[in-house]
């Protein structure tokens, strides 16, 4: 078992990229790897408690066909990204931290965020937490 932490810098706030991050996190959690997710900008914005369940759209390259494919999967009952992430947190050691700079830029306070978010940290604390683990940028 590889217990080096996996870090995900989640910058993007569209549903496809949020889902990609949730999938990567839960796969690592299933293998027993610690996961540290750092929320920046639009990724952070998607975690506002009053918006988390909204339709956040898809990346520009999805186009009409891509959207139809994603909608079809959803209609078949694929779990939304925030439920996949909640399961990953239940399963293993998955920590979600908000980037303090992004909190300032978007004028978000911790009270505005969903309970999936564990706290706020700066980039230095992020690097210390990750150590020599891998970093994914989504």
């Amino acid at each position: 078992m590889d217990d080096k932490p996996l870090a995900i810098v989640l910058f993007s706030g569209t549903d496809d990229k949020l889902n990609a991050a949730a999938v990567m996190a839960s796969g690592a959690a299933a293998l027993g790897r610690p996961v540290h997710i750092f929320l920046q900008y639009w990724g952070l914005d998607a975690f506002r408690s009053d918006r988390i369940k909204n339709d956040h759209g898809l990346a520009a390259e999805a186009g009409v066909e891509g959207k139809a494919a994603v909608d079809a999967l959803r209609a078949e009952g694929q779990a939304p990204w925030y439920e996949t992430l909640a399961m990953a947190k239940e399963l293993g050691n998955v920590e979600v931290q908000a980037c303090s700079l992004s909190m300032d830029v978007l004028r978000i306070s911790e009270d505005d965020l969903d309970d999936l978010v564990d706290g706020t940290e700066g980039v230095t604390a992020f690097y210390i937490a990750v150590g020599d683990g891998q970093i994914l940028f989504i």
């Binding site: 078992m1 999938v23 959690a29 299933a30 293998l31 694929q78 996949t84």
Partner: protein
């Protein structure tokens, strides 16, 4: 073959849910007992091979019938 302790029905679920649900179920399965997993996700064959290898659980049986994969995993 001894009896299955727990069955995880992950049919219709897409990646990574079959693994996530199995990993979750494995927490409550005692060492040496068997977990049966049913999945339709084509990626699950390689995923379960990798997951058992890396977690120390062992793949006891693996079959496919009409698009449904069945894995029997012995808990480490």
């Amino acid at each position: 073959m001894s009896d299955v302790h727990t069955t995880v029905d992950a049919k219709g679920l897409s990646c990574p849910m079959p693994i996530v649900k199995t990993a979750q179920a494995a927490k409550t399965v005692p060492s040496g007992e068997l977990i049966e997993v049913l999945a339709t996700d084509a990626g699950s064959v390689k995923d379960f091979a990798a997951w058992t290898r890396s977690t120390g659980n062992s793949m006891v049986e693996q079959t496919e019938d009409d698009g449904v994969y069945r894995f029997v995993i012995k808990r480490a």
